[in-house]
Homo-oligomer: 220 residues x 2
């Protein structure tokens, strides 16, 4: 908590740095220049240096960055030395795909419980994850001390499910529904709106012609 607050854009890039540094280490590379790092992660090197500066000066001029040190550093920052269990609410097509999605291969995050209203899958195990009835959600989340939930329910039930999640003590919601959710101040919602992503992409291509990449450093 003592550390300086970093911008959201920087926070979003930390997992990308972390993943690439692990690839380097697997290839027995123990140092990397900011130029190499920049080329690999598609973030310009000035941005990388600024991002790293939030955590103190980590690189040395003419040497670059020490890979194992950086990894240790990011591991702590990203809480990768402990497993984070998350819940999935709504096991439809997208929910099923997320159960199969290999979050754990690239990170220390795991879907450990899922919830649905469909009697055909309730009380079964799907892709290694137990499916509970929605009516048991509050109890299970509290018992399992899960603080983060992925929401992939139909749009018209999204707010109701969110209210239940908040009541159960959830602090972070990854929202795949197009609904904008209302939550208390101390709960964070991150929206992954797939229609929106496509529309934004189309907008840029239609309106920017060959200049689509003027914001390329961020890529996002």
């Amino acid at each position: 908590m003592a550390e300086q607050r970093i911008p959201r854009a920087t926070a979003k890039r930390l997992p990308i740095y972390y993943r690439y540094l692990n690839i380097l280490l697997d290839a027995d590379k123990t140092r990397v220049s900011s130029t190499e790092l920049s080329e690999a992660v598609k973030v310009d090197s000035a941005t990388i240096r600024r991002d790293f500066s939030y955590f103190g000066a980590l690189g040395k001029r003419g040497y670059g960055y020490d890979v194992p040190k950086l990894i240790e550093f990011f591991k702590k920052i990203l809480n990768q030395d402990q497993l984070t269990n998350v819940a999935l609410v709504g096991v439809g097509n997208l929910g099923h795909a997320l159960l199969n999605f290999n979050f754990h291969q690239n990170s220390n995050v795991r879907i450990s419980a899922a919830f649905d209203v469909n009697d055909n899958i309730i009380n079964t195990v799907q892709s290694g994850v137990p499916i509970y009835p929605l009516t048991e959600m509050e109890q299970q989340l509290q018992e399992q001390q899960i603080a983060i939930a992925i929401v992939t329910v139909p749009e018209d039930t999204a707010q109701e499910v969110t209210d239940q999640l908040v009541k159960a003590g959830v602090r972070g919601i990854l929202n795949f529904t197009p609904r904008r959710l209302s939550v208390p101040e101390n709960v964070r919602v991150q929206n992954v709106d797939l229609t929106n992503e496509l529309q934004t992409l189309i907008y840029f291509i239609d309106h920017y012609g060959d200049l689509v990449n003027t914001t390329r450093a961020g890529q996002n």
Copy 2:
């Protein structure tokens, strides 16, 4: 092209405004204040006014915004008066979910062709979409004049597929793989990195305590 370039953050909010305005119109509301709009879409009203200002003054003091006019306006901006066909490359779990995902309900975007290497699904129709072999991708994309592709292939083939897409004339890629793709200047990549989204959410909750929403206006 004559119009002013708008920030990426603004471009990302346009589809959200557009969707909510359509909900209002369906409910026979013909005007809306920036406060109401703000509450519904979870974007602060100063940001809304600034976003709208990029397109000229669209609201009137004490009256608010004219809903049908705004919709007409956004429809053109977002190219919603014509259907945009997109391709899907990689019909695994996530690809299947996206084929079933109802992009078309909320937007004028439709997955019209999909590509894979799996003989069991090649030359079949899945969720109404024909699946072609990857070897026919360039030809099909050119024939169907598809400029946008969603990439959900395994990480280690992502760059190869991207090179083929670029060769076939694709201008925009929605990248669901964790790989950062290399593309020419005139091609735009938008990354949807689900592991990254979860890690960022965890980071904010671990490090910001009750202040998780200091950047709430953006919500993303």
